[in-house]
């Protein structure tokens, strides 16, 4: 057992910031490679013409999920030391709904907006400013919404705990679901392309 390296004290906070910067470079690089610096490519997901948001997201999720799973199965990594955001079900679902609405209205999410700004997109810059306004507004009004914000606390909770199924089984199910989703996405894209030619 030696990973996560930082948690085992292999390096300190200062080097951690260097890691943050390096990880960010990789993150931004692949987001841009995926086409996520471009709001039209992102929004196309919601009109079924280009489903790369789904494909990239779920390929990334499956890759990292399989990685942490096998690294912990082989005893290289202590998964319990990886930070897990506690679940607050109701505000997270409402927040997801608002964020999803913002996604199709604005065309970027916070991370992809940064990539859009970095590659010159003015619409991304305006959305970027909007995020600051939204967070500032939420925080100013926090006393009014703090009750709901802290509602339905469930602690650190994973799908294997919810379903009482083995971790490996859920991993396998997510892989199957993703593969099915990819096949479905390819099929939908072909149909939409054919429809466009007809029209």
């Amino acid at each position: 057992m030696m990973a996560p390296f930082f948690k085992f004290g292999l390096f300190g906070d200062n080097l951690g910031m260097v890691v943050a910067f390096a990880v960010g470079i990789g993150f931004g690089f692949f987001l841009e490679r995926a086409g996520f610096g471009n709001a039209r490519k992102l929004a196309a997901q919601f009109y079924f013409t280009d489903l790369r948001v789904f494909k990239v997201m779920f390929t990334a999720i499956v890759t990292a999920m399989l990685g942490v799973y096998y690294l912990s199965v082989f005893g290289f990594m202590d998964l319990s030391l990886v930070y897990l955001t506690p679940t607050f079900l109701a505000p997270q679902m409402v927040g997801g709904l608002i964020l999803g609405m913002g996604f199709v209205v604005g065309g970027y999410c916070p991370g992809t907006a940064c990539v859009g700004v970095a590659t010159g997109r003015i619409d991304a810059l305006v959305l970027f400013i909007g995020i600051f306004v939204g967070i500032f507004g939420f925080s100013e009004l926090f006393p009014l919404v703090s009750g709901f914000y802290n509602a339905t606390p469930m602690g650190q909770l994973t799908l294997p705990q919810v379903t009482r199924l083995p971790y490996g089984f859920i991993v396998f199910a997510v892989v199957l679901m993703a593969l099915g989703g990819f096949a479905g996405a390819e099929w939908v894209e072909k149909r939409m392309a054919a429809r466009k030619v007809e029209a």
């Binding site: 993150f27 690089f29 409402v94 964020l99 913002g102 959305l127 939204g134 967070i135 925080s139």
Partner: protein
Amino acid sequence: MHPTKPAEPYWNPYLAGVGLGLVLLASFVIMGRGLGASGAFASTITAGLTAVAPNHVAGNPAFSEYLKEGTSPLNDWLVFEVLGVFVGGFLSGTLAHRVTRTVEKGPRISTSGRLVFAFIGGVLMGVGAKFARGCTSGQALTGGALLNAGSWAFMIMVFAGAYAFAYLMRRQWT
């Protein structure tokens, strides 16, 4: 800012997804934490506000949770990570001749109309990310890979919200 060479096509989404997944995995293995974005915005606001109204920040837990003892709220892991996102995005865009000063929009909406929607979308993003304790990076990607129950509920609702409003927004994109 107009590139001299034509923009290269984007990568195959599965290939880009594997790249993104490996970056996320590296973050788990090296740091014991995943990716994020919206937290850096909150830290930046807190830093700015602390400079002008420190008592106001201290009295509001939505700001004060981003304060750091003995150092600026900007001395934060996510802030450094997001700075890297700008650099990495710019690097990739430059190498593929995709850095262009432009507004991305569908053919049926004016530029100013598109920018109004971009602003509204940004505000919604900020509010949604606060309620959800994270955004597409911190919740959907990171929590998704860790099989975090709240993150999966969040992710389903993001797609539900976007698809529910896609028809209303069709003039902007199609």
